[in-house]
């Protein structure tokens, strides 16, 4: 255990937290902006007698993860954007198989190779996925280096408790920036995996883990079962940040790196007397629809801010449908890698706020 506050880079914080969480097997293939995770693991894991494999591709890495998860150990891979795209088939299998494991996705700009700038263009990739069939990848998004640590722990816990793949969705800014953080120790109870994991049929009937299912009814029941699990996860594991939401007329919705910049802009606007708040979902999938709906019922408008062309925006709108149809929903976003400044977001808050006041009173003076 290390309770010292250290200046840590986001990627190293994730890697150190994974080791502290008891990750037994790591598989990865290099891609910027997350390569430090694999580099750290290549040194630390063998030193601890744990597994590190430099996979020949992300396709291989995700399937190694499937194998490691199937024997019940804590296992992880990390990657980014165009390479996470290669993992989608494997993720569908892993979700259908109910295999616990952790995927760290440090987003870069896209589409295609894009570039290594911070981006939130893979919100859809993480939360909607590209694999086939009905499934979800439980997703948590950190907005600080400390949250890289805390949420890595949470990812391992949720994956093991519910037997499901979990994604830590960071971006190039969070992965590459340094700030003080405490690694501490894994704060969750260990979940016994021995009643299902493969360890050889010694004195018991053999077990099998497979996504194939020949009986229609059994196949249906399996999908229903994993969706019941997602409901439980939403009920028990949902985390979010509400800042100055009570009494706010305008609420900013944002996640991950951009949310902390938005928060600074909200603070600035509050000082100027604007009734503005921030809602930051930390668990992005399953999406906290009820929480958004409750907020939407009490405000005049929502301004969604993302480093993309509007992806979480659609989950925000869907959450409000039927409960807050008349409020204004504005979007301010920018794809593929140019970070926003506090001043820029502050200006958008002013614009959105002015519109709300004008809508209500016909004129605005703010």
């Amino acid at each position: 255990m290390n309770n010292k506050k250290e200046l840590l880079k986001g990627n190293y914080a994730i890697a150190q937290a994974a080791v502290e969480a008891g990750c037994q097997s790591y598989f990865g293939y290099p891609i910027t902006p997350q390569s430090e995770i694999g580099e750290y693991m290549s040194d630390k894991m063998p030193e601890l007698g744990r597994a590190y494999v430099a996979a020949e591709s992300e396709v291989a890495a995700i399937n190694m993860l499937l194998g490691a998860g199937s024997v019940g150990v804590k296992a992880m891979t990390s990657s980014s954007s165009c390479a996470v795209a290669l993992m989608q088939e494997g993720l569908s299998f892993i979700a259908g198989d109910e295999i616990p494991c952790v995927l760290v996705s440090v987003m870069r700009g896209g589409p295609g190779l894009g570039y290594i700038y911070p981006s939130q263009g893979d919100y859809y990739q993480a939360t909607k996925g590209g694999g086939n069939g009905d499934y979800k990848i439980v997703t948590f998004a950190p907005s600080s280096v400390q949250e890289c640590v805390d949420l890595t722990y949470k990812c391992f816990y949720v994956s093991q408790k519910y037997r499901t793949p979990v994604c830590l969705l960071a971006d190039g800014m969070i992965g590459q920036m340094m700030e003080p953080a405490v690694i501490g120790e894994y704060p969750y109870e260990e979940i016994d995996q021995s009643d299902w994991a493969l360890d050889g049929a010694d004195g018991r009937e053999p077990r099998h883990i497979a996504s194939i299912e020949r009986e229609q009814e059994t196949l249906r029941a399996r999908v229903v079962k994993i969706f019941e699990k997602y409901n439980k996860i939403l009920e028990n594991e949902n985390i979010f940040e509400k800042y100055e939401v009570e009494g706010a007329k305008l609420v900013i919705t944002a996640f991950g790196s951009i949310a902390r910049i938005a928060k600074a802009a909200v603070k600035k606007a509050r000082k100027e007397g604007l009734k503005v708040g921030l809602f930051r979902p930390i668990m992005l999938n399953p999406f906290p629809e009820k929480v958004v709906a409750e907020i939407a019922e009490k405000v005049d408008g929502i301004l969604d801010i993302e480093l993309n062309c509007g992806q979480m925006l659609n989950d925000i709108k869907a959450s409000m449908a039927g409960v807050a149809n008349n409020i204004t929903v504005e979007f301010y976003g920018r794809p593929a890698g140019v970070m926003m400044t506090v001043e820029e977001i502050h200006k958008q808050i002013e614009i959105a706020y002015r519109k709300l006041v004008e809508k209500k009173y016909g004129t605005a003076c703010i």
């Binding site: 396709v59 499937l66 194998g67 296992a75 494997g90 053999p206 099998h208």
Partner: protein, 250 residues
């Protein structure tokens, strides 16, 4: 006095349901793998990888823990299992389409890392489960549903020879190609399979056995004609034999 001369291996389930077509060599291959697991005394610590294709229902007959891999990814899944549980015996049971086409990368890289696993490849020169399409090992001139006029090199290249490739891969400790077309061939196949498992048990590296197998359904031949094809044109292209044997060198 009764004497038991032949019995079902313990590594085959009591309630086994063989899902293969009549006359297909898969049944013999599965039994041989099971006999080897029994004789090596490793059934209780074995984890098998089922691959996509005719062998996907391996858990219906192998009496061991099984995890299914996506198409072609068996040796990546095997890597994840073995690295996480090094004390287990890990094997894959794959078709040639799985191992030599869509999974060629995983095959070569698992073996170049010298993963302590055993790969069994059923080479029947066609995609059996999907109805007999041309694949990586389809012979020149062979008629399949996607080479209706016979495989032509200028259109779809040449059959891929896995033993010849894998013998050059340093992490592979045992590489052999066998047939099942006669009692002597079956006995030899079992000996080779055993060595391929010993390669991992002795920590020497990866073990690989390619079994030239029949697919009477898709070849539209009787089982006897199918075995004649294995002995004839298949063995001329895919030459049976031991290509590498670090097990015997020890």
């Amino acid at each position: 006095m009764e004497q038991l001369v032949y019995k079902k291996p313990d590594s085959i389930r009591d309630d086994y349901k063989i899902t293969f077509c009549p006359g297909c060599d898969h049944g013999v291959a599965v039994r041989l793998v099971a006999e080897v697991l029994d004789e090596l005394g490793v059934r209780e610590k074995t984890i098998g990888i089922a691959s996509v294709g005719c062998s996907v229902f391996s858990y219906d007959f192998f009496n061991v823990d099984i995890v299914e891999a996506p198409h072609g990814r068996s040796l990546a899944v095997a890597t994840g299992v073995k690295r996480s549980k090094p004390d287990k015996v890990v094997f894959t049971y794959q078709g040639d389409g799985d191992l030599a086409s869509i999974g060629l990368g995983e095959t070569i890289h698992a073996m170049t890392r010298g993963e302590k696993v055993t790969a069994v490849c059923i080479n029947n020169t066609t995609y059996g489960m999907t109805g007999g399409q041309g694949g990586p090992t389809t012979l020149l001139g062979q008629v399949t549903t996607t080479t209706p006029h016979g495989r032509k090199a200028e259109l779809s290249g040449f059959p891929l020879k896995m033993c010849e490739i894998l013998k050059e891969v340093d992490g592979a400790a045992y590489v052999a190609r066998v047939t099942l077309d006669s009692p002597a061939a079956v006995m030899n196949a079992k000996k080779c399979l055993k060595k391929a498992f010993e390669a991992q048990l002795k920590g020497l590296g990866s073990g690989f056995v390619e079994i030239l197998a029949t697919c009477p359904t898709n070849w539209k031949m009787t089982p006897q004609e199918s075995h004649a094809r294995v002995r004839g044109e298949m063995s001329e292209v895919f030459r049976p034999g031991v290509y590498k044997d670090k097990v015997s060198e020890v």
